[in-house]
Symmetry: C2
Subunit: 497 residues, 2 copies
């Protein structure tokens, strides 16, 4: 573990990510006494002048308002806020102008021996410039760390450029690429379940598992991110990072030790074992969709093209992929990946579908015999359900009954523990890179996805239209039906706890 | 399924078993509308005169009082009692005197076309005479059934005599040997769990299971059964029937269909595969004990010899056995069996102890890694717990935590459903013999136990004394320690739900 006495410098401190996610996470860590007393939180933003103090006060007040808005009601407390705000420093700084604010930042950092932890809450296009300016002002100590927000790049080539550029200034070991999905306690619990239970570790392969489903389903549409999103689409926005990272954690071989280096190595092996999808394979194994008009959660939703104001866009807002991992463990096991906007419910979930029992010993009257499933729910709540068959104890005869066991039961932790950003930030503070993404992972992900994106761009087909508020195009159901599988869609109003 | 319109004749209707178990079970079945309207309940007892009606009324009143005592408060209801009592017939009858009451019973049965179901709540020594008298009065229709209470016999030879005698009058298919342990819903749920869940059926053998424990622990001493018990001892009273039956259900191969005939065949195969214990093997693999003075549940308890009033008895009140099943599935897996009187807590439990995970991937700080266990609790409450490891979600770092999942959760059935006697009686009424014991099972059990009982009788060793209120002799702990195993003793005051 590296030094934990850091100063956290948030570039883009006034942006949405900073106010909605990072500040609440840091506030919670502060309240929970998880931040060393010496740690300062330095927010840089362009719009503040370093000479006049009123700009600073105004910004600190904005942070306060953001906390009051994004924390739960009982979490905000004037006393804690007072102590938290004493950690806050504000620097008016222009990322691309080496004179504007950089000297002030340098002076501020020199007041402490703390290692700087630079958080780039910035568009990747200015990562390079930011690094140059850090270097010019001698701010990159040998231990200095940098945290990068996804997505890294637009394709394999652009990702490589970004990683090369940042790599000129920071050694890979000090670069923390965030995927906040990996900060969810339940994702880590999935690893614990896999590797600490004989019942699971013994049955985690193609002999026992029929298929795996990973769904990241959103109900929102463009939400004002039209410019960014239309250039990206569902694959770049969700598959390249979150979906493939989750796939890696499900599929990876047990490392010798669960440490950063070994987990990364195992994840990269999974990505490299993904069966390449090229040419006709893409048509057979993927479905891309674009939402049309519909009703989501009782509200009318315009179609994507209408919302975008561009009737010719072929950007996918939905994608379903049947992937295969060509290695010994997973030969023949489909991994069904799915993500989309304007779907019926917001939820993220991993489903491990076990094979059926070898033989049915029960008479036909005894009812349906469902195969076991492990359902790892990441959003909107976090829990893990194990679906088993038991006897219906309310009947005298042997009658089968499906039951769901909650594996998170008994851990009624306060909601602030569930803050994935807090978890991830504290890991970066501690210098624990287990849950961050290595550049080789970024590269391997793009390497697998680039042909798909190319193929779509070159093809004359448009994405299939699906009505907003449904579960996406019916073609996505067909994709599984070929294998005899079916998507697990939560029922309307289903309450998982 | 056979005819379900039967008349239930309870020989020994005034005895403890009838009043404490059978009548409450029948009353519950009646209230639950599980008994056909035509079914009569005919209780025979010696002390009633068939000419005077007051003896009958007095006995019916005793049944009423017994129900009020042994049912739960809200279960007894005057309206239900009124209807239930209309099913009741009382016959003054002497089992061994062919003239006393037998003609009256015959006349009573001839009033209905119902098949008679004879329940022998009698000492096995008069089974033969009872059969003779039934035959003499032409009461054994081709479909007539007989229900026998355990224990059948004192050793292999005496059991064979009893079974032969009853077999002269009833075909084996119409003989229902009761083991009320098998009537527990949880025992049947164990079968459902094994055979309807991939996660269990795949890991139910020597590759996955380290060992199995079956404990039937009592807190009571002789309870006025001194004469019977000193002639029997723990092996005859508990091991020959209950313990070995439970062992069979855990160990049996999956039948092609879960029907009576196939289950019996599989159980017999298990009993025949028990590794014979003879000579020195008995010394190495068994521990027998006899309780001395101690404190049980806060009350002083006299030692067995003192309570019995015979200082020379070598009857065992505790026995622990390490058994092996010499077949493909269970090679090398010890089955530890244990039962005793005056132990610390009353409970019955089957523990399936899985092997440890192949390799620990967690750092040492991450806490203890316990192996998975399936704990099937039969008494005092019924439930099935699955012990898994999870991440302690209240901690940020990866810390392992043991959790118990209740597999009966969500089945909050009324307590009357849990009446094992009701279940078993209704099966006999329906002619479903799945949960009853075939004579070959009785024979195979004695065949395995006879050498042990002989050896003890001939040896000069006395049973080891243990203090009442403990978990039995320390030698029983040593028995497991040799294999690196340890008894699962519930903690004082442990609440399983």
């Amino acid at each position: 573990m590296s030094q934990t006495t850091v100063d956290i410098v948030i570039f883009g401190g006034g942006g949405d990510l900073s106010l909605r996610k990072l500040m609440p996470a840091l506030y919670r860590a502060h309240v929970n006494q998880e931040l060393d007393k010496s740690i300062r939180i330095i927010a840089t933003l362009r719009s503040v002048s370093n000479s006049a103090d009123n700009g600073r006060d105004e910004f600190v007040n904005r942070i306060k308002q953001a906390l009051q808005k994004h924390l739960q009601a009982q979490e905000f407390n004037p006393g804690h806020w007072q102590a938290f705000s004493e950690r806050l420093c504000v620097v008016g700084l222009d990322i691309v102008d080496t004179n504007k604010g950089w000297p002030e930042l340098s002076a501020l950092l020199s007041l402490s021996d703390n290692t700087p932890l630079f958080y780039f809450a910035l568009p990747p296009s200015v990562y390079g410039t930011a690094c140059e300016n850090l270097a010019e002002h001698n701010l990159i100590h040998p231990d200095a760390r940098v945290v990068l927000e996804k997505p890294i790049g637009y394709d394999r080539e652009s990702a490589e450029q970004i990683n090369n550029k940042v790599g000129e200034y920071f050694p890979e070991a000090n670069i923390y690429r965030i995927d906040h999905y990996l900060g969810k306690e339940t994702v880590q619990n999935l690893m614990v379940l896999r590797f600490s239970n004989y019942l699971f570790e013994q049955l985690w392969d193609s002999k026992s598992i029929d298929h795996v489903q990973i769904t990241l389903s959103e109900t929102v549409g463009l939400e004002g991110r039209a410019g960014f999103y239309d250039n990206a689409g569902a694959v770049r926005d969700m598959v390249q990072n979150h979906l493939l990272q989750l796939l890696c954690l499900v599929a990876m071989e047990p490392a010798s030790k669960l440490c950063a280096k070994e987990i990364r190595a195992e994840k990269i092996k999974v990505l490299n074992a993904l069966r390449p999808l090229t040419g006709d394979d893409i048509k057979q194994n993927t479905v891309r969709g674009q939402y049309g008009f519909g009703v989501v959660s009782g509200c009318e939703q315009r179609g994507y093209l209408d919302e975008l104001g561009n009737p010719t866009s072929t950007t996918e807002t939905f994608v379903a992929i049947r992937a295969h991992i060509d290695n010994w463990r997973w030969a023949g096991v489909p991994f069904y990946l799915r993500t989309g906007k304007c779907l019926q419910q917001r939820y993220s979930e991993i489903v491990i579908q076990y094979k059926p029992v070898s033989h049915r010993v029960f008479c036909e009257d005894a009812g349906e015999l469902c195969s076991n499933r492990l359902v790892v729910r990441l959003q909107p709540d976090e829990n893990i359900q194990l679906e088993l068959m038991t006897k219906d104890l309310e009947r005298t005869d042997v009658h089968l009954q499906k039951m769901s066991l909650n594996l998170n039961e008994g851990s009624k932790q306060p909601s602030n523990i569930r803050d994935a950003y807090k978890r991830i930030l504290l890991d970066a503070v501690r210098g624990d890179s287990t849950l961050f993404t290595h550049r080789d992972e970024v590269d391997a992900s793009w390497k697998w996805l680039d042909p798909m994106l190319d193929y779509w761009q070159k093809s004359k087909d448009s994405p299939v239209e699906y009505s907003a508020g449904t579960w996406g195009p019916t073609e996505a159901d067909q994709l599984l039906k070929k294998d005899g599988a079916i998507w697990r869609n939560p029922k309307n109003g289903e309450q998982s706890q």
